[in-house]
Amino acid sequence: MTKDEVQGATEEEQAQSKKGLKKQQKEAEKAAKKAEKQSKLAADQQGSEEDDFAKDRYGVPPMVQSQQKLDRVLVRVEDLSPEKADQLIWLRARVHTSRAKGKQCFLVLRQQQFNVQALVAVGDRASKQMVKFAANITKESIVDVEASVRKVEQKIESCTQQDVELHIERIFVISQSEARLPLQLEDAVRPDGEGEEEGRATVNQDTKLDNRVIDLRTTTSQAIFRLQSGVCKLFRDTLTNKGFVEIQTPKIISAASEGGANVFTVSYFKTSAYLAQSPQLYKQMCICADFDKVFCVGPVFRAEDSNTHRHLTEFVGLDIEMAFSYHYHEVIDSITDTMVQIFKGLRDNFQTEILTVNKQYPSEPFKFLEPTLRLEYTEALAMLHQAGVEMGDEEDLSTPNEKLLGRLVKEKYDTDFYVLDKYPLAVRPFYTMPDPNNAKYSNSYDMFMRGEEILSGAQRVHDAQLLTERAMHHQIDLEKIKSYIDSFRYGAPPHGGGGIGLERVCMLYLGLHNIRQTSMFPRDPKRLTP
């Protein structure tokens, strides 16, 4: 090698050794860190093994496969009050949140609409490991807790049970939840305005509907569906007390009842059949079969490709039909009285639920008059003309006009619920009885809540002859409705009725803005699951 090369080589060697030195240094550092970590872990483990005197007061017990019958009373969260102070109780609830703070862990335990604060603190009953375990329980896990109820001096604003808190002695996880939830319950309950203002997340409707099981756990959803159950119960009870009989009508039918366009077809062995758009025909046949006053609660299927805030393809219909003596207003009075009883029942027995919903969706309380306000169609037209709306005498009300009319009626009469009587004949179905005094109008009526239609009803044509004429006038194929017309040939009493949508009534009573909020698993043109 030449001198230069030698020099180059030594330089290389020097460079290498410099690099080598650096490398060695790095490795040494790494090794030192690793050793530190390992020793720390070892220390922790040692620490966790040492002195866990509370080992049997927490943990994950084996899955409940009905191994034993425990004679244990579980207290409901909603019953926790200062009266139970210093009692030792068991309860089963979900972990809503858990927050560790040094030697303490704060949990919020939730049961349906109610929640309560609970505390695990290092002391003679709980060890450090137990506190750590409590802090690591995943949200939404179901836990069994034995705790003593303690009164608090300062009200706990963030919980429904504000006067007490639980001091946990034993805590077991009965069903663990996965760590990552598809949506956070706190976000799902947050009012929209608050979300925007404070920059916190809210959950949009599609996410909520896709993960309906979790969304239904929120306090708001629990309240809405309890109220809906209340509506059904009040409907049944009120009508039964009035002497109505509940009937069940078939949903698979051979001919479309309201009109061919909006009906679902199903394959029926070798032919096809339809899903009922309403129990109309069968209600009437029951009247002709002498049941006098009937009602039915069941699903209604409308294949309308409407993607609006108030249309579903499947909803629950509450339908009424009754024979009357001389005037169809007897029917209107009966229906409005039923509605008023429902409103009163909700107002008197479901205040908790209404307030819970209002926390997320504020709205004005629902107002109604007794006796119910009844306006004639011509009066309504006059009110709309005065407000500057151009409308023909025999025209049907469009949705914006209905809403405007609702506002005008609210302003003038201070009611959210009213009946509009004597609609023009031209816009009603063929089985509507025409007005005896004015051929342009009919004995039909609609009922509105907060300016949106909830019921469409009328006196029905009970004479086979007139019915045939009206059907021909509407250019309906008589063959398809032969059995319907036949049912009136053998003595039929004058009768009328109407049908309301359960989801719509709940939505409008609570002042909500989308019908999917009041349908547990909604169906619309774009949604078939869950």
Binding site: Q386, A387, G451
Partner: protein
Amino acid sequence: MALRELSSLEKYLGLKKPNKYSTQGDKKVPVLQNNNGPPLVGLGTIASHLVKVAKRPNLLGDSAESRAVVQQWLEYRVTKLDGCTKEDTKAILKDLNLYLQDKVYMAGNQFTLADTFMYFGIHPIIVDLSVQEKEQYVNVARWFDHIQRCPGVRHHLPPLAVLRNRIYTSKHH
């Protein structure tokens, strides 16, 4: 459009002989050919002239300040209001609403040409407003209703309904 307004104005002023107007340009600016002088061009100019002919100078404002304001609104009418787009409408209504908060008439304390021509100009916008929007721009609606009821002003335009009471609360549905 402008020609009809001018003929309505003539009727209001009680001028016996209707003048013949022609228009010039794409914007159809009205022109009044005078026998003894140069032609008068422009809505505001012609209107002021007619008012002087009819010996009703108070319609142009009774003080120097209100006269200036009247001219300002006539300018506004011709430049901003005629041929404004949909987006501008909202801004215009908002400005007017703020301006009319504490005023009965556009200029001063009496009816002037500014009211007439602003009324003519804003009529097509108000026609398209819904009840809720009219409630939103409550001052404009109040002034509009007042002017359209003044005798002799309306003429060729249909009356528009303005409700007396508020039917939309703050939490609108």
